[in-house]
Symmetry: C2
Subunit: 128 residues, 2 copies
Amino acid sequence: MNIGDVAERSGLPAKTIRYYEDIGFIKPKRGANGYRHFEERELHKLAFIGRARSLGFTIDDCRTLLALYEDKDRASADVKRIAKQNLKEIDAKIAGLQAMRATLSHLVDACAGDHRPDCPILADLGRG
Amino acid sequence: MNIGDVAERSGLPAKTIRYYEDIGFIKPKRGANGYRHFEERELHKLAFIGRARSLGFTIDDCRTLLALYEDKDRASADVKRIAKQNLKEIDAKIAGLQAMRATLSHLVDACAGDHRPDCPILADLGRG
DNA sequence: CTTGACCTTCCACCTGCTGGAACCATTATC
DNA sequence: GATAATGGTTCCAGCAGGTGGAAGGTCAAG
């Protein structure tokens, strides 16, 4: 497979795949023309990383997960620990966004949204 | 006021204030010793930006909001439109995180977390 | 033979700061 | 007056996680 096929099948942009090679996730062989040649195994890994990233794992998490994934002797406890930590971080992010949403929503409701210059949103931002 | 006082009173790090000068939010006068000299007005603006940032507005949003804030003839409708757009984006982020949380939480529950190598989290990430 | 899609490398840029080095100014203490 | 702590200044580099674009090589079709 060339990079374009892998991009399509993994859902990752070709740019990103090259970047992932840069940072050492994959090491595709090269053809005589210099083109990267990917095996199923690499596609698989990239798809793994793509899913992990979309679940909010950092690149560093991915490295660990990948190592665990490839180590047949690893304990599931290690993976669970990382996932739980990630879950906690997601919860914190959600809570932060919800607080932000409440404040903003309150201000939007209070704002008439008409053609007069009076605006509670700016009044709130400018208080103090 | 020197930058340290402004940092304390606005809650923004001095580094960030210098950065905000760099990108043109404020233009403090300079004393004979080269020190930045801030007026109340600048402090006010910085606090405004700080609050807007903490509500999830981008730097670019802040520019617009500040312009509206300083324009006594602006309509509150403009501000409301920006805030509503921001609210939509916050909602989308929350929804994304919640979906992510559901998937991950499900996997964490399914994972025994013992010393055996069998791990549903990795199994899920590696499917396909 | 040319067109166009695909591939390569490299370098810069994005957001929103943050850290550090190297240096000057002010103030408090001895 | 010397010294040290605490300000302030500049500039340069870097974080995550890529993205955009230029300049050029390659391949398959018509």
